[in-house]
Subunit: 233 residues, 4 copies
């Protein structure tokens, strides 16, 4: 069954050889076919457990929030997506599983996070994710225009990032931004509306038992505000 | 762009012609290629808006809960999934988008819901979903063994359904059940644990603004308890 | 047992005769002792059921949110409290039960709501609540300085109200404001911080079964953001 | 200002001298008036901050849940309340503030928790709370019949406790039980219904910002299920 990724999305060999796109990744995977075969069966398309990712505590978008985030991104098979402030790369990786013919560009500058992303791209064989080592909005100018943009972190540059994204987003494009503070929620909505976007905010409150404990205590995760923005015609 | 479904999952023509699988569906789609082309671009893989589905009020698994449900199902590309009490068919349809090489069997008996499912399968070109008109656990015996089972409704037959599923679930299979009442939550956990499953319960509380209203009032959806069950080795 | 209110808070007859305070109320209760006796036993101090209040749908602060709101008001026995945009008066009435020696001023201008408040003050024998028919910030100048201010509704005058309250709030005073829209949440926090307040925001998500249904379905109430503001020394 | 408690509820000197009620407490407060004067102004009736209580991490019923719990107890001024598994005593203490003419019996057996309760009763001058050092259902037989029972902890004796409570609860009495695990939620509802009670379950999900942080991140508390039970006529 040649050519299938970890969860079965078809791998088109030629995509991996487009120039200028996979430098970092290619350097790390001289023989990708040999490397990934053994893990083929283990990971789902979406819903990969948080503990499967190399990550720092509190960095990762938790699996339930990630699923809702991907739903709000309204992905289709062959879109271009920017993942700004990619953190551990978990959103890019599951987006890659959903869009085997898409192109995902993950921007991150933090050295530790870059190391996590590299490990995770390798582990989950995310072949159509390109890692860009840059502090957004720097690094965006050379990328193809996006259909979808996910902003998971803004490093204090939120307004500049939204401006840069707005100049490049394709017609009928969509922006999704996850906020965990009132400050980010408020500013993101304000900036997006100032640039002509309609926003829908979804607050996700998750509590989860631990599967193996006898008493099944519900433990709450902090709420996340998922802002989905699009331009009306 | 021959051969692509509504969100780009590849359609393998031969799958549609397997005997015994698509009777109902085939009867309704004598010329499927003509029917679906115009809607090709409009629907995402997951995150299809609730209002896009033919459904009755309060029947549908709402888009955010659907996304978390699909994540908990830990789908891979080519699995067999049973969707018991399929309702409007929204979970089957998005599972179908995630698993272009999978086989999904949607069971439903309610005449109105069957009509919704037929309309939705047609609209979203869900070619690898087979609709089974049966009241579970009836109708399960003829299906291939499942890797994944989603129980969205049980019609008062919960224990029988769990027993029937347990006899057929493949090793490393997973069951996901959505409960909106304490009664179902309690019984499902009890029955599943009695049959040797470990369960993890995720309570999903969503509130959402309406995108176009000026004041962005958060409106809460009723909480859903997503029970994910698997057997340890 | 002369002199007890509906839930047992002592009624000090002399308080009711302070000039200038209970005009409206006095006019309606020429013989208060005769009116309230029969209902003495039926209502709790806090936790009065929503359906016990005369109110319009969606107007009332629901019982659980009311309880948390009263907790955030940090009431003591003999404080002066303003209730701005009193709605159906439910917060004033339970605050009155908590503060038998306090003075509560409920401001409201909407004619229908005024009628609800009058009915509710009568029913629950809330003797130390003075109803002020005014559109805040109008009507505040003649009231005694407040220890506590609850803003349940602002009628589009939020900034003016916060300014007026800030000029009059006693040292160590506290303001509590309930927001159900992002617009109000954002502006209230901004205005309060601009005036030197520290704010704590508590988001309350309640779901509740209906006691008599067999299956105990959890029904969610819309989330309420309770903003508690105080000045540091 | 003779005769006022910490939050202004009138202290009736004679209540403190009822025989058989305040043995433990009396021993610790030979001169209560001298001890509590300095703290008179600082504590609210309800909404005392969690950090004001002597307690262990995760033991205390958090302030928002405490407020809703007290609302569900539907307290009136002069009721008899049992607080079974009193923990740090926070519910008893605020109930005492609400019911200056009530009698509250707090049962606890854990030595550390008993020490917390003693410290807290002293600090908040909770004069009508009697601490009973017993492991329920032991210790209940000598108490006066209750109008209200709060079960905060059951030490594995839930069914026995509910049976013992049921034998003694006054007509129109109410039981409130807080559950944080599915196990307790399920069993409590089952036992209460088996004994003829109607139950209403309120799930409280709270998230709160920290007042002084610049970015106001919402931190979730674990959900609590508040079960309110009463017998219909």
């Amino acid at each position: 069954m040649r050519g299938y990724g970890p969860a079965g999305g078809k791998i088109h060999q030629n995509r991996c050889e487009k120039p200028g796109q996979h430098q970092l990744f290619a350097a790390e995977h001289p023989h990708p076919h040999q490397a990934w075969e053994p893990t083929l069966e283990h990971y789902p398309l979406i819903g990969i457990r948080d503990e499967e990712f190399a990550t720092a505590k509190k960095l990762i978008t938790k699996e339930e929030v990630r699923a809702v985030t991907l739903a709000k991104l309204r992905l289709q098979d062959d879109l271009v997506m920017w993942d700004i402030g990619a953190g551990s790369g978990s959103v890019s990786i599951e987006a890659s599983n959903l869009m085997p013919n898409g192109k995902i560009f993950a921007l991150e500058k933090n050295a530790q996070y870059l190391s996590f992303i590299r490990d995770n791209l390798k582990k989950f064989v995310a072949r159509n994710v390109t890692l860009i080592e840059a502090f957004a909005p720097e690094g965006l100018e050379d990328l193809p225009d996006p259909d979808r943009v996910f902003i998971g972190g803004s490093g204090g540059m939120l307004e500049d990032i939204i401006e840069a994204v707005d100049r490049r987003l394709k017609p009928e494009g969509q922006i999704v931004l996850n906020a965990v503070t009132l400050d980010t929620l408020t500013k993101a909505v304000e900036f997006l509306e100032d640039h002509g976007y309609s926003v829908e905010i979804t607050c996700v409150n998750i509590s989860r038992t631990k599967g193996l404990t006898e008493y099944k205590m519900f433990e709450a995760h902090n709420p996340v505000y998922i802002i989905a923005a699009s331009k009306e015609d």
